[in-house]
């Protein structure tokens, strides 16, 4: 009746942290804040909930306390289940797990967990893509194509910068992946890997054992790239709206894209809600003198100034006569009276004292670290 018990979801929370080093200094990629109230992991985890994948392991490596706090028991994603549900897989939790160098080694560390699952198939995803995946459709395509591995990609234009933090697939007329480029030097329209794979548990366990025996640690290199002739790796083209985070600039743009109502509605589908941790904030409050245009405002904000083309996370306070433009202001930050901030990203709990002026540019937004007081 549903996919229940047949698919194990694996989410790699620490992968790709190098693309936004500022944001991941004290957190995993999965716990990077996004879009006013979310963390990056919400998108992939909610997609799993919405597709009926209800047994999920989250693989972590370091700096994952904020992720633990965010996920809690998994209740918000309906993953606080008795049968299946959410499992955290931190390093050193098992005799075989430690600080891994790549996906293959990380999988080796959790091989007991995978073995114990009753699932026949495994879906693996990272936390660097903002989108709503339809795992149902991906899984159906995997079964139908008879692939060993189904690799999800999207067709998109890449800049040189994007490409240097992405993998790109060559795909033949039959949809098979016949070439894998890892962090290539190129630009233009291509098949960009979304770091999402379907594979049978049986084959995955073989690959893991083989990788461990040979000292291999990179899934992309030693499985996808080196063995794409040997395995039947089939591409699945993801058609929905997506943003892949490859740099602080692309992170900024991906946030700002939500100000486009059309893109917003393609990401937040009625049929695929995006769940996140509950904070019990009151609604946003607009005081006398508030002027807000073309902005996303999360719950718990109190706004007395001007906000334009910006994204305000939960609990942000904007003082009288302050002006915020083209900015991302993360939760519980306080922008004082008569401040002007333009093209700025503030991390959590930043305080900008009265009258300060901070200006970046759209292609190089200024980043202010967590808890900073300016």
């Amino acid at each position: 009746m549903s996919l229940n018990k047949n698919i194990l979801g694996l989410i790699f929370a620490n992968m790709h942290e190098d693309v936004v080093p500022e944001l991941t200094r004290q957190r995993t990629m999965g716990s990077v804040l996004f879009g006013g109230r979310y963390r990056m992991i919400d998108f992939v985890l909610s997609s799993m909930t919405n597709s009926g994948v209800d047994e999920v392991g989250v693989v972590t490596k370091s700096n994952y306390q904020s992720l633990l706090d965010h996920l809690g028991s998994g209740r918000e994603w309906d993953m606080a289940r008795k049968i299946g549900g959410l499992h955290l897989l931190p390093p050193f939790s098992d005799v075989s797990s430690g600080i891994y160098r790549g996906r293959l080694e990380a999988l080796y560390g959790i091989s007991n967990f995978i073995r114990a699952s009753a699932a026949e198939y495994v879906i693996m995803s990272d936390c660097d893509v903002v989108t709503s995946f339809d795992y149902d459709a991906i899984f159906d395509a995997h079964v139908k194509s008879g692939a060993d591995i189904t690799a999800v990609y999207a067709r998109a234009n890449l800049t040189m910068e994007d490409a240097s933090h992405s993998n790109v697939f060559g795909i033949d007329a039959d949809g098979r992946v016949n070439n894998v480029l890892i962090n290539p030097v190129l630009s233009g329209e291509c098949n960009i890997a979304l770091n999402t794979y379907v594979i049978s548990k049986k084959l995955l366990m073989e690959i893991i054992a083989d990788g461990a025996a040979k000292g291999h640690y990179s899934f992309a290199k030693t499985i996808l790239q080196d063995r794409c002739g040997e395995f039947k790796i089939v591409g699945y083209k993801h058609e929905g709206y997506f943003s892949k985070i490859t740099s602080i600039k692309s992170y900024y743009d991906a946030n700002m894209a939500l100000l486009d109502l059309d893109k917003r509605s393609k990401l937040f589908l009625d049929t695929n809600p995006i769940y996140t941790k509950i904070r019990d904030n009151p609604p946003a409050k607009f005081a006398i003198g508030a002027k807000v245009k073309n902005s996303i405002i999360a719950d718990g904000c109190i706004i007395e100034g001007t906000v334009e083309n910006s994204i305000l996370f939960r609990g942000v306070k904007v003082g009288k006569d302050a002006v915020i433009r083209n900015a991302i202001v993360m939760q519980d930050s306080v922008i004082g009276r008569k401040c002007t901030i333009d093209s700025v990203i503030t991390d959590k709990k930043v305080t900008i004292t009265d009258g300060k002026i901070l200006t970046g540019s759209a292609n190089y937004p200024v980043y202010i670290g967590k808890n900073a007081e300016i």
Binding site: G35, G36, R37, R75, L258, L259, L261, R264, L267, F268, P273, I274, Y275, I278, R279, D280, P282, P283, A284, K285, F286, A287, I288, G289, A290, K291, V292, K293, N294, S295, I296, I297, A298, D299, G300, I302, V307
Partner: protein, 402 residues
């Protein structure tokens, strides 16, 4: 954990709220939305949690589906305890037959077995009709210090309003010496807030005696309190001086919402030390568009606002299109205000649509005869066609309901 509870709360949430008309056609009054994301019952429930009371019986009777689902296992209020927690208590059938709750006292009487499970020293009786923040623990401490059998929370009201309330007459020590229900010539201005702390063993006996006396009303105000006074039990008044509002009428519901927008009124929802909990919607954050003007208002998650909002409370998932104007109004979850529509001094229920160019309500000064003025109300799931005018004081219920 399996020790007794010092105090159990019993929350009377069965009220139909018939004076809220179109808003309570298919939900009990305590389930009516309030304050941009809350429902009225969030206030007593959050007060319980913040006061350290972790066992709450919620007595339901009228249209309980919305309320039962809303309360669920109590988790949003941290009331999903293994021993204790929130429990909905509908009327039920026994081997002797079936009985609806015949009054506030009878509702508690029928659930004596529930209270007894926790062997509490005290029981606090609450109602699901009031908006206020109160530390019940302070009141229980007062009850203990005074060695009272019953403690009634009272509010000092203006003399001219006193005749609308149950009025307590106290002596110098704060002991209640007499009680008058809605007196014409009030002898005091201490109005009962409908919040009682009882020593459970006492109350238990009075409930049984009340039940066995077929001539008596089965009600706290009409029977239990007078009976206790007659029997010379120690009843004391506990003075409360914070914000408290009975939202029993459309006007008072509207006012209570407007009060949140008034910085001079002490009902601060943003206070981190007395959080109000509620069930949170799963929606993206609100978007305020290029053409929007929003001031003096609260706007909740999932809204898409491209119109003008002033002095209004906008619940989650509301759309206000370009050129639409909402002032001095309350728009409940999921409703849509179409282009060019105007909503003033009005309450719009859940999932309703106000068509393009429609006009709902009017400013008091726009009405010649002040008696013709009042809040306009659109019920839940109502579709107002474009251009239609709904005058002040008018009410448009959900016609799908019988």
């Amino acid at each position: 954990m399996y020790t007794k509870k010092e105090c159990v709360a019993m929350l009377l949430a069965g009220g139909q709220g018939s004076r809220l008309y179109a808003l309570t056609q298919d939900m009990a009054k305590p389930a009516v939305p309030y304050g941009g994301k809350y429902r009225i019952i969030d206030f007593p429930l959050s007060n319980c949690v913040n006061s350290g009371i972790d066992t709450v019986g919620v007595l339901t009777q009228y249209q309980p589906l919305v309320l039962n689902d809303y309360i669920g296992n109590g988790q949003p209020w941290d009331l999903d305890k293994q021993y204790g927690g929130a429990h909905c208590l509908p009327p039920y059938q026994t081997a002797l037959g079936a009985e609806w709750y015949k009054g506030t006292a009878n509702a508690i009487y029928q659930n004596i077995a529930f209270v007894d499970r926790y062997s509490p020293e005290y029981v606090i009786i609450l109602s699901g009709d009031h908006i206020y923040k109160m530390d019940y623990n302070d009141m229980i401490q007062y009850h203990k210090e005074k060695g009272a059998d019953a403690t009634i929370a009272v509010l000092d009201v203006p003399l001219e309003e006193a005749s609308r309330f149950g009025i307590m007459i106290t002596n110098d020590e704060g002991d209640i010496v007499d009680f008058e229900e809605k007196p014409k010539n009030p002898r005091s201005t201490l109005a009962s807030m409908g919040i009682y702390v009882f020593t459970w063993s006492k109350l238990r006996q009075y409930l049984i005696d009340n039940e066995n006396n077929p001539d008596e009303d089965k009600d706290f105000g009409k029977a239990i309190i007078p009976n206790m006074l007659n029997a010379k039990e120690k009843l004391v008044a506990y003075a409360f001086d914070g914000y408290w509002k009975d939202v029993g009428t459309l006007d008072s519901l509207w006012e209570a919402n407007m009060d949140i927008l008034n910085p001079n009124i002490p009902i601060d929802l943003y206070d981190p030390d007395w959080k109000m909990y509620s069930r949170n919607p799963v929606l993206p954050p609100q978007y305020i568009g290029e053409n929007a003007n929003v001031e003096n208002s609260m706007v909740a998650e999932g809204c898409i606002i491209d119109g003008n909002i002033d002095f209004s409370v906008i619940f989650e998932g509301v759309t206000i299109e370009k050129g639409a104007t909402v002032t001095d109004s309350i728009i409940m979850p999921g409703s849509v205000i179409k282009e060019g529509a105007c909503v003033e001094y009005a309450i719009v229920g859940e999932n309703s649509t106000i068509g393009a160019g429609a006009h709902i309500g009017a400013r008091p000064e726009a009405v010649e005869n002040r008696d013709d003025w009042g809040i306009a109300v659109i019920g839940h799931n109502v579709n107002i066609e474009g251009g239609r005018v709904v005058g002040p004081k008018d009410m448009v219920p959900d016609i799908r309901k019988k």
